[in-house]
């Protein structure tokens, strides 16, 4: 019995010991499992790093964000975009054999000089040297195949203009670091950098192409220095086309000459000659200074201070106001202007936007040069477009205001769904008379070659001697034509200026000979594109009320020139 008890007691002791050990071991194992469990939860559920990664990687599917917005035309055609292009760089510290590396790179990129390359690759104090920015994917592949240590690629966004030189004067260009240097690229640099979707311009590349092609042809034919052309929407001020020739490739802006870079349509200011008779006649009629049957003696040149005012298309007779306009009489226009008050022209020109820089979204804008003061002599010369210089865009905007009655600010951005405010310049009645007069010029006198069949073109020629060092050079001209179509309800203004056209067959290269045919051809081609359809018969509001019928010969009030 005692032995059993003793046995039991030793047994119990051992059992206790084992139990303690088991508990200890079990706790250890349980702790280990707990750690694993906690870590498991941490890794699978709470791991934030992973979560961040997922968000980042998932976001990529939303689309690549380029650093600069696209520019598109009014129909969505791409005018400027960004492309990621590889650039070749080297880390000279890692280059083992600069000479061998240079030799094999020059084989792929023949534009690089080997000696310069060796110098660049041996500069051990640097760890980054550009070898060539903007290489082609083919060249990238070839260089990669060489497998030279320390030569690598860096991807950069590069500005690209698919329309090349077609829209360069409006769109402009950037430098290598994608900073706008000219055109819309410069003016809207901040908006483009923000990149909230493509920037839509009012330009239409089809119209642009037609205008540019026709002007180019004429410039070559007349061996001219250059020229400019604009198509403007009369009802909104949107610029549908803006051409300045000669132009250049935006990718090679660095090598372009000053003449090529100069925007003749908006930056250049010129004396535009007889185009100003449109404004002069409108002022006269609107102010009530003259009526349609007022007539002036245009038989003799006017001698005033040191100037002689004479007519190119001399009619040698007494002319009515409409006759002065359609025969483009300088004498007649000057006589009309002589009746104006001192401030009348200035006030009117201000309303037409002819005395301040244009509102167009370009940095290259010319400031008009009006006469120093509005003395009588200057009022008289300004009437036929001498002594005042404005850009062709100014003239186009002002003509649009005359035929519309309201002045709209010229713009290069598309104004869809946005209210455009126009300021009233002249009455509907004066506007209608002016349109009839413009139509008469195309039907009967100097503007005949601008008459695009069935599109009812109205317009006015302008031939101005180029001013040179205070005087005028009669052998050098700026020949212009401004056309409006369709004249019964004007939609578009087309202006073309050709700078210094040369004589052909000893004929003076006037606006009617040089610029008007361009406008005629352009209108007949662009009208269907702009959804202006041919009008076969005369529309009711111009039919049967031609100006001839309005003036009764008996009622002519003659005013004889006193100067």
């Amino acid at each position: 019995m005692t032995s059993r008890i003793s046995f039991e007691s030793t047994n119990k002791k051992a059992l206790e010991k084992a139990k303690t050990r088991l508990l200890f071991g079990g706790t250890l194992v349980a702790l280990a499992f707990l750690v694993i469990a906690v870590r498991l939860v941490d890794v699978t559920i709470l791991n934030e790093e992973n979560l961040k990664n997922t968000i980042k990687t998932r976001n990529v599917t939303a689309g690549i964000q380029m650093s600069r917005a696209d520019i598109i035309d009014r129909n969505g055609i791409l005018l400027a975009t960004n492309l990621r292009t590889p650039g070749l760089y080297a880390d000279p510290k890692e280059i083992i054999d600069p000479e061998r590396a240079a030799r094999s790179i020059v084989k792929i990129l023949p534009g690089l000089s080997e000696t310069k390359l060796i110098k660049q690759l041996s500069a051990k104090n640097k760890d980054f040297v550009w070898l060539k920015r903007e290489i082609t994917p083919r060249q990238e592949y070839e260089v990669n195949k060489l497998g030279i240590m320390g030569i690598d690629f860096r991807y950069e966004e590069k500005r690209y203009w698919p329309m090349r030189d077609l829209t360069v004067h409006a769109v402009g260009y950037t430098n290598v670091d994608n900073k706008g240097l000219a055109g819309i690229e410069l003016f809207c640099d901040d908006i483009l950098k923000e990149n909230r979707g493509p920037l839509q311009l009012s330009l239409d590349v089809r119209v642009q192409q037609v205008l540019r092609r026709e002007m180019k042809e004429q410039i070559i034919k007349y061996n001219a220095l250059g020229g400019s052309g604009i198509v403007l929407d009369v009802e909104t001020g949107e610029t549908i086309s803006l051409v300045s020739l000669p132009d250049f490739m935006p990718h090679e802006a660095g090598t372009a000459s000053d003449n090529e870079k100069f925007n003749k349509a908006t930056h250049g200011i010129y004396e535009l000659g007889s185009i100003f008779k449109i404004f002069n006649t409108a002022i006269a009629l609107e102010s009530g200074k003259v009526s349609l049957d007022t007539s002036y003696d245009a038989r003799k040149p006017i001698y005033i201070s040191r100037y002689i005012i004479r007519d190119y298309h001399a009619q040698n007779k007494i002319l009515t106001v409409p006759e002065i306009f359609v025969h483009s009489s300088n004498i007649g226009s000057a006589l009309i202007a002589a009746e104006f008050d001192r401030s009348l022209q200035k006030r009117f020109f201000t309303d037409l936007g002819l005395l301040r820089p244009s509102s167009i979204e370009l940095a290259a804008k010319g400031t008009p040069r009006p006469p120093d003061n509005w003395k009588k002599i200057y009022r008289m010369t300004v009437s036929y477009g001498h002594g005042i210089s404005v850009s062709p865009l100014h003239a186009a905007t002002a003509v649009a205001a005359i035929v519309n009655g309201n002045h709209y600010q010229a713009t290069l951005l598309k104004k869809d769904n946005k209210l455009v405010h126009g300021t009233k310049v002249i009455s509907k009645k004066t506007s209608l008379i002016m349109r009839k007069l413009l139509r008469e010029v195309v039907l009967k006198t100097s503007g005949r070659s601008a008459d695009a069949t069935d599109y009812l073109v109205g317009g006015k020629t302008g031939t101005a001697d180029k001013s040179q060092g205070g005087g005028y050079d009669r052998s050098k001209l700026i020949s212009s034509f401004v056309g409006v179509f369709p004249i019964n309800s004007p939609k578009y203004v087309v202006i073309v200026n050709i700078d210094d056209p040369k004589q052909i067959n000893k004929l003076r290269p006037t606006g009617g000979r040089v610029a008007a045919p361009v406008v005629g051809r352009v209108i007949s081609e662009i009208a269907p594109l702009l959804e202006v359809f041919p009008i076969k018969a005369h529309p009711p509001d111009t039919e049967g009320v031609w100006l001839r019928n309005q003036i009764k010969p008996s009622s002519r009030k003659q005013r004889i020139a006193v100067n």
Binding site: V60, L78, L83, P534
Partner: protein
């Protein structure tokens, strides 16, 4: 009674842990696949950008004109090619087709006019 419950719970824990691990690995794998796909998408988008620019450049009006004069010789639209809708002769309808069958809606049943209010509709 207690022991089997604890055992079952432990088993369930193990199974749950195992499933959790499996899912984690699967998610990891999918995550990697997503990253590759995203990378591919980005690359393709870049290619699309480049091709779009190329397309617009190939379709620039000047080039199309050159191609046209070489292969198609199409001419710009002339005003004489437009016709007024009224000048198009109307289709001559045979007299037999003019006697239409009576409109069943107008003929059958009571008039529905009284259900409409007399006030003019302003819409």
């Amino acid at each position: 009674m207690k022991t089997p419950v604890i055992l079952i719970l432990i088993m369930l824990c193990i199974v749950a842990g195992g499933i959790l691990f499996r899912i984690t690995f699967e998610v990891d794998k999918l995550e990697k696949r997503l990253a590759t796909l995203n990378h591919d998408i980005k690359e393709n988008q870049e290619k699309v950008f480049a091709l779009r620019a190329d397309w617009h450049e190939s379709n620039r009006p000047e080039r199309l004109e050159i191609l046209n004069s070489k292969y198609l010789k199409l001419q710009p639209l002339k005003s004489s090619q437009f016709l007024d809708a009224s000048s198009i002769p109307q289709r001559v309808v045979p007299a037999s087709m003019l006697t239409r069958e009576k409109d069943p809606i107008l003929e059958k049943g009571p008039s529905t006019n009284k259900y409409f209010s007399k006030a003019p509709l302003n819409d």
